[in-house]
Amino acid sequence: MVRPVVVEELLKVRNLTKRFGAVAANDGVSLDVRKGEVHCLFGENGAGKSTLSACLYGYYRADSGEIVFKGKTAELNSPADALRLGIGMVHQHFVLVSNFTVLENIIVGSSDVGVFLNKSEARRKVVALCQECGIDIDLDREIWQLSVGEQQWVEILKALYFGAELLILDEPTAVLTPQQSDQLFRIISGMRSRGLSIILISHKLREVMQSDRVTILRKGKVVATVETAGSTAESITALMVGHKVTKHVRDRSVMPAGEFLSLRNVCAKGDWSEDVLKDVSFDIAKHEVLGLAGVAGNGQKELFEVLMGVRAASSGGFSLDGEAIVAPTSREMLDRGVGFVPDDRFLEGLIPEFGTAENLVLGWQRAPEYRRGPFLDRRKLGLLARKKIEEFRVVTASADLPVERLSGGNAQRVILAREFLHARGLLLANQPTRGLDVAASEFVCEKILEKRAAGFAVLLASEELDDLMRLCDRIAVIFKGRIMGIVRPEETSLLDLGMMMAGDAKEPERTVQ
């Protein structure tokens, strides 16, 4: 990447502090963002990255400190204030009107449109923006027809249309496929060369390494700001966690034995009765981690749902520990000791208004161990929560703080704590490390290996191919609802995996048992 020639500070943050009760989410944070730079915020879950960006775009008001934008102290009382000054935010959960067209969504709410939309003028502006940033999108399609990645572009275009000079992206690639992520980064560098500044929050090191500078946060404080060019992924990680992260590898002396989960020709329909799973067959043994590699949206989600009993298989079936499972419900699967980490944590895994304690027993609220007579045993829940908060290092003000207020990664830890506690025998994990910081991801990997050693069968879907390669005994690749092949990591290269994920079928004899 070409370095910006003029070093000019667009944004200066001085001693910004934001507290939530006793927790200082940001504690005297100072930060400079130059004109035309991609500035990355990096740090553990709960370090305060999202809170900082929320203060910068006017969602929260800092308790103290100063935000200087373009040389003037900015008084940000609402996102509208921020946008007026030129600070835009792309939300992880988009706020688009789904039956408006792309163009309408971009221009709605802008002051120069007037009562009657002057679309031709607006269209000219938007087309010019698209060209400058290299965004290729049909302005007349309606939002619901777009992929998640394209919806994100619309959010970006909207901010740019409103004249944003600083764009904040909070974990923008968490919901994107690798291809979409690459496209996003092309757009980011396009914006950068136009002189726009970007604050990027990410836990993925390869994305962090594409920025110009990185500010590392730990427990609400700035640890350091470094030039990416002079750093390595390792040095940045070390700054973040304060020590080196060792990557765990599965213990090859423990051999998978004794078939536990076995699928035969499972087919299933999607939400619009399209075929999403086609003849899926595989087995997982005890002491085995089976990886599921694939680009998001190729049927992984539905496969997990079938195994969890929340989506019916249209044909085929599966058995667990030698017993055929007929027309299962999620209750039955939980009772059979299946642990499940869903990929959409707030939608499928948590009750946002409940605290950590109550969420830890979600699904087990009627289990005798958590009850005293007809009542939930609050004391026991409290004790359990305290133990798990410590064990999984959940950063939360109290066991009863609604989990919707936890940082993304900490919310994920609550789910992991619950599932690792209750699963017996089978663990289904769909993107368990998504949104987790480097150290926490490793912690999850370690826990998965612990379960493997304890004799669990584990199905692990992940976009992190490196993780799959070191954790899994075998890796199944899924493409358009079909298993393209099952391979052993030690006999496969990342390139092979990539080919299979793109639909290039392995020779059948390469499928290993």
């Binding site: 507290r19 939530f20 009760g21 929260y60 008001r61 200087v68 040389g71 003037k72 102290t73 008084e75 009382n77 969890m308 929340v310 419900t329 999620s330 209750r331 699967m333 939980l334 009772d335 499940f340 869903p342 707030f346 939608l347 499928e348 895994g349 948590l350 009750i351 946002p352 208004e353 409940f354 109550e358 979600l362 699904g363 609220q365 009627r366 009850r371 007809p374 009542f375 939930l376 609050r378």
Partner: protein
């Protein structure tokens, strides 16, 4: 400059401030409304107070008026906490009263305690079944409960009209229909605990208090309550985590309707002693208001029910004494609701003094 901002936690003092302000605003607007409609607010409000609290009997009368509101309010809380929008309380009150009346035609030969019990159960079942029906329509056909419960209100109210107007329950011995049934068997009337004459408090009040305690414990302490609250926050996660949410929805509608039905039975056997549409109309909708004003918490609903019970009971006296039109009382009820809803939003905000500075 003062600016308004989101508050990151709640504070008791601020909550009290907001709700007091809401009370004062409701009071002032009501006074303005009274003046505007040609009344004398001082006279009217003092009549209202006398009617509500002026004597022991007035007090008991207020408690009697609070009884059905509390029960309906609690039923509403159960449904609304699950974000199931049961607004068929009106019909469920009717159905409870009708089922209880029907039961009373059969149970006279039984020992009186058994007869009372059966009548109360009939009330619960009547309201509950109507709630369940709306729940079934939602589970089976995806019908919005907002629509189905309102439609069922009409159906039940018209069925009662048919039964009383030339139908089998018309007051016997009359040739002209008064749209009412014969009085219930005096032996089956619910016992009066306190008061006499116009202000009598029947055993239903105790039942309602017990129901409030029951609901508070149910929601906060039991597994079912956990599921009800979880359903309101995120039904998808609940479904993924092994709860049969269709059954849960049915249970919620059953409970919610049953409490409203009990209110109807109590009103019939404790207060009016005759099945008659006018005495039951409005209990359901006021009960919803009580639930909202009470912040969808059983304790809050108890306070709100007492307040609205006093308002309703005082209003009768106010109308007699100062000739204030009855519609104004409904308007006042609405105003209280409006300002309380505003206050509920205000409790989530804070005022902050902002210093304007210019960067050097």
């Amino acid at each position: 400059m003062i600016s308004v901002q989101r508050r990151s936690g709640s504070s008791l003092g601020w909550n009290i401030t907001c709700y007091s302000a809401a009370m004062i605003c409701a009071f002032l607007t009501s006074a303005a409304l009274l003046t505007f409609s040609g009344g004398d607010p001082v006279k009217a409000f003092s009549a209202l107070l006398t009617g509500a609290f002026g004597s022991q009997n007035a007090l008991y009368g207020s408690l009697a008026k609070a009884t059905p509101l509390l029960l309906v309010g609690l039923g509403t809380v159960i449904a609304f906490r699950a974000k199931i929008w049961n607004i068929g309380q009106e019909g469920q009150v009717f159905a409870g009263a009708m089922a209880a009346y029907w039961m009373s035609l059969w149970v006279a030969p039984l020992p009186y305690w058994l007869a009372w019990l059966l009548i109360a159960i009939a009330g619960l079942v009547g309201g509950g079944v109507l709630g369940l029906l709306a729940g079934y329509l939602k589970v089976r056909f995806g019908t919005s409960e907002v629509i189905s419960t309102v439609m069922l209100n009409y159906i039940v109210i018209y069925i009662l009209a048919y039964l009383l107007d030339g139908g089998p329950w018309m007051e016997s011995g009359l040739t002209v229909a008064y749209h009412q049934s014969s009085p219930v068997n005096p032996l089956l009337e619910w016992p009066i605990l306190l008061g006499q004459g116009s202000g009598k408090m029947h055993i239903g009040f105790i039942l309602a208090l017990a129901a409030a305690a029951f609901c508070a414990v149910l929601l906060e302490r039991t597994s079912l309550g956990y599921e009800i609250r979880a359903f309101g926050s995120n039904p998808t996660a609940l479904r993924f985590r092994g709860t049969n949410i269709r059954r849960l929805l049915l249970v919620v509608m059953l409970l919610s309707g049953a409490l409203a039905g009990l209110a109807g039975a109590g009103e019939l056997f404790g207060t009016s002693h005759r099945l008659r549409a006018e005495t039951l109309l409005g209990i359901g909708s006021s009960g919803i208001v009580v639930a909202m004003v009470g912040g969808l918490r059983p304790s809050g609903v108890m306070l709100a029910a007492l307040f609205f019970g006093a308002l309703k009971s005082g209003a009768i006296y106010m109308r007699l004494k100062s000739g204030t039109p009855a519609g104004l009382v409904s308007a006042m009820e609405g105003l209280v609701l409006l300002f309380f809803l505003c206050a509920a939003v205000a409790t989530k905000l804070q005022l902050v003094r902002v210093e304007e500075k210019v960067h050097a």
